[in-house]
Point group: C2
Chain length 325, copies 2
């Protein structure tokens, strides 16, 4: 079976780790990773979501934080701060830094982000084919209030908003710089069109999934593939599983509920979903989601350990199998 999954960072990566336990060795898993979180810092190209996926599936993640490397050190970061290098808010570990140095060196030598990602993944033995959504530069920026500028608003890079400001001020808008000009990376459209199942892990619908589906060609392939597309709600009850996302959704007028995010994604072919897993405790939303034209099922959704995550991935595959039948 050919399974293709979209993925943001932490939530997507953990879901994928469970998925790899749920599939058989003959199954092929392709992951289309969000690159709109990417940022150049200190002259280095950083791809936070691709790295989180790579480290998580390759066994190098710091499981407690959910991002960055295990057995990490922070000496380089201390030194950068001592030199007055900006920004100081980015969590740049010494091991992680090496990944960015290698990536930057290969990109500077003329390789595409796809090629570089493949090269980095060889070391990590990730068990999936990891494709960046695009080789073109795409960067999410967040519009925030700023009474000190004439317009009353300014934009900050998503990383600055998320990591630097800890999503502490209201979101007035999202601008995905470069997205309109970007094309899907090699293999991305084929991975969606040739898939038996397409999965949308519990990732942020705006800045992780929305940035992927917003690339022309990727959204179209999702809408036209013969494969069923099944997603997993990142919202349980009235809260995002990872809290800061609520600020972002609220600021964009999206109802913070499993049904609210399903409505935002929409039913195919106008939207991107055929199926939607919601948490057991949100079972009352299943009929609401059905009214959208999306088949929903309520199952336990907390990814507390690999066994529960695997069961969740199985439920997604099972829902997809029912949709394909």
């Amino acid at each position: 079976m050919r399974i293709t999954a979209l993925s943001g960072g932490i939530g997507g990566a953990r879901f994928l780790r469970g998925l790899l336990q749920a599939v058989s060795p003959d199954d092929e898993v392709t992951v289309i990773g969000n690159t709109a979180d990417d940022i150049w810092l200190f002259g280095l190209k950083i791809s936070p979501d691709l790295d989180t996926i790579m480290y998580t599936l390759g066994g190098g993640i710091d499981d407690e934080r959910g991002w960055g490397r295990d057995d990490e050190g922070w000496r380089a970061r201390e030194e950068l701060a001592a030199y007055g290098a900006q920004p100081t808010w980015f969590g740049l570990g010494d091991r992680d830094l090496a990944t960015h140095v290698v990536r930057t060196q290969l990109l500077t030598a003329g390789q595409s982000l796809s090629e570089v990602t493949q090269a980095l993944c060889r070391r990590w033995d990730v068990g999936v084919r990891l494709l960046p959504m695009s080789d073109d530069p795409i960067e999410t920026h967040i519009v925030i209030d700023d009474p000190e500028v004439a317009s009353g608003q300014r934009v900050v890079h998503f990383q600055e908003y998320w990591v630097g400001m800890r999503a502490s001020v209201p979101v007035r808008g999202v601008v995905v710089v470069g997205q309109a000009q970007a094309t899907p990376a090699p293999g991305v459209v084929e991975a969606l069109l040739d898939a038996d199942v397409v999965l949308v892990p519990p990732s942020n619908p705006i800045v992780s999934i929305g940035t992927i589906t917003g690339v022309e060609g990727i959204g179209a392939a999702l809408r036209t593939t013969q494969a069923p597309v099944v997603g997993v709600s990142p919202i349980i009850g009235r809260h995002a599983v990872r809290g800061m996302a609520e600020q972002l959704l609220a600021g964009l007028g999206i109802e913070i509920s499993a049904a609210g995010v399903a409505a935002h994604h929409g039913a195919r072919p106008a939207g991107i979903l055929d199926g939607w897993l919601v948490e057991e405790s949100d079972a009352d939303q299943v009929p609401l989601i059905a009214e959208l034209g999306i088949r929903a099922r309520a199952v336990p959704l907390l990814m507390t350990d690999e066994t529960t995550t695997c069961a969740m991935a199985c439920a997604a595959l099972d829902l997809a199998a029912g949709l394909r039948a």
Copy 2:
């Protein structure tokens, strides 16, 4: 008093640390640092001698090794090796790496090496004005035997010869790539012409001092400055204070003795020296050196601690004062 010193890495930096204890607060010390050891690795610009000087005078050096940062970690290096990034022999510490990242970012932004060096030194409060010998790319390469290539010889970057191969094979020649096209960095010629004393610390005469004096304009300024030029022998008895240098000198036909190196540098104005400090135990060479036209004096030369190093710097200044009188 205006004191200008040439300097390579470890030996030069330690001498300078002693010199700063020997001078008064009104004295101005300018250091012209060797940049021919510089190398691009992993897409980063590394200036080993400038860094050794900066870390030593700024209190950040690992005193036992003589190079690199104190409280250093090696996580990034482990990761680079895990990715298969070449070379693996370079001693790239996590703290040190941050210096190279900042340097590279500033160079890429269009600053000259002089400007970048000044910016880095602001953090370190080095107590001297540190100037790279040139803002132009200069890289020392070593000719070695290689029976596997048609010519029987190949060249390796000095860092590869010194660090990677630990100077373990004979030197057949030295090629200072870029030197013929290079010009002195801003302020270098003026620092020599306007100096009251010029000092040549106990650094390698070929790959540290020779690469500096080989830049057109620097050699000329050394030969014409009104200031006395006093050097310190890097050879004690028949051995280089830092052992690997012997290989390099032997390969180039330079006699391994205080007098041998004095003869290599030569007396001004054809050469670069007016005075030369040799170790007490080499006092018998003083008349030989005098025959070259260089005034020599025998004093204790081991830089075992800052007190002995300070005394050595005082002896150099004293010899210079005698030459100026």
